[in-house]
Subunit: 285 residues, 2 copies
């Protein structure tokens, strides 16, 4: 293994990995090395560009913390997240489609009873959300664990706020349970379109490529129940101007819903309602 | 751009990048996205594996600081560094070959006069290094800037020491100049074989793949002079047991030299000598 050059390096790396006891890891890494090297050869990557890549990854690592995930953003804007989500969530017709997870989920969101105001002080026009969780057979799924998270009217998630928020101060996110009929409902605020965080290396990359960072308004849902595949998805707001240019390629027509506006009346301020039902795929399907 | 699935996502991303005003960036990113997606499809990357990848990159970012560069290590052990170095340093026969930069160079190393002891307290058997810097035409290159850096006898670079070292306390690294005849010489210590830092995510990856982290003993050189291409290379120690399995694929036969041992005599301790000449490629070549 001396005198390795640009023609023999790929085979040398694959041979070095040949004794990996983990067959799946070897399979994944073999493909990764093949494609990484093919990329570098195809564009004749320069040493200066290689260094810019090292600097980019370093900056992404340094801006990532427990409230910000630049590597998920990177995966999102390069379409990898949508690809991985899609190829792992092929479901029978009738099931609610999946879309990207995004970087803003947090574990241990506050638990709420149905009917609660999960906004918890987040800014925005009131929005009342209701729906039913069903199986593909149409039967209601009781006691499903429903996580919801969203931006406020300024386009920020709670974890993006400057004085962000101990876990006891989460806003516009929460965990609920469906009732015996599979139903859930809560009060929150109207989600708004927003830019993905673009003050870091991923934002700089988008700017250099003349790509905008905007996402159409949506609510995130993660729904889990025994006997069903976990569903990670969004519900998008119909009419949003970014539905056809989502920076992270997450929009699916079946996930766009009408968020109905109710004008101010009799001294009551305006509010919105959203009704959306979710259909889970049986775990065995 | 709605209803993007695993078959249409690649084209959608390429279209989103189509307006990039930087043609080279668009070329590089197009190839990167194509290969990234091809990789994910080829291995049918799962959501759990995707998440492990996000975690790996995050951990690599968090362990990287001004003394440790995990992303260069990653590039090194995947052979990308050797590939990029090789394809950018095709030179006429007779020039000193290049090899990988590695993660341990630091800017503003201390400057020394010829003859100085650059070990500066680093542990190891004394080693006297001498050589000449020439051009491909055989003429000496005067006043070339020569950076050298190396591990100590325990296999550690100064920046890896627990109490690592303000920049005024660098050990076994320095910057010298060739004299009017292109000659340089300095005292240091015998470099030893060593493992790349393997207490981080790259080390864990190597362990999972049954790959060892060792590199054969070497001195790093970076040599710069007006009118010549910058040379980044190593000089390896002949006989080292890791010459045929360098963890980062950097060994070239032309860079292996005899480090001559001089036994202890007349109360003088043993020492080594290394003589090695460097031949620079003219910048216009």
């Amino acid at each position: 293994m001396r005198n390795i050059d640009e023609h023999t390096i790929t085979q040398a790396v694959l041979e070095a990995m040949a004794n990996s006891p983990n067959e799946r890891l070897r399979t994944v890494m073999t493909s990764l090395v093949n494609h990484l090297h093919a990329f570098a050869r195809e564009v004749q990557l320069t040493e200066e560009e290689w260094w810019k890549g090292i600097e980019f990854l370093t900056a992404a690592g340094h801006i990532t913390n427990d409230k910000r995930q630049e590597f998920i953003l990177l995966s999102d804007v390069l379409g990898l997240s949508t690809l991985v989500t899609a190829q792992n969530n092929v479901k029978p017709a009738g099931c609610t489609e999946s879309t990207v997870f995004g970087p803003f989920y947090v574990e241990s969101a506050p638990r709420y009873e149905n009917g609660a105001d999960i906004a918890n002080g987040a800014k925005g026009t009131p929005c009342y959300v209701a729906g039913t969780v069903k199986g593909l057979d149409g039967k209601p799924v009781a006691n499903a664990k429903i996580n919801v998270w969203q931006s406020d009217e300024d386009g920020f998630y709670d974890v993006q706020q400057p004085n962000a928020a101990s876990e006891h101060e989460h806003r516009a996110r929460g965990e609920l349970r469906s009732d015996a009929e599979g139903k859930f409902h809560f009060r929150s605020i109207l989600a708004n379109f927003y830019p993905i965080p673009h003050d870091g290396p991923v934002g700089a990359m988008l700017a250099h490529m003349a790509r905008h960072p905007w996402r159409p308004a949506h609510l995130h849902f993660m729904i889990e129940a025994p006997g069903y595949q976990r569903l990670i998805t969004h519900v998008f707001r119909d009419g949003d101007k970014y539905l056809d240019s989502d920076a992270v390629f997450g929009v699916r027509s079946s996930l766009i819903a009408d968020w109905v506006k109710h004008e101010a009346k009799d001294g009551e301020p305006a509010f919105y309602t959203l009704d959306y039902d979710f259909v889970l795929n049986p775990a065995s399907a």
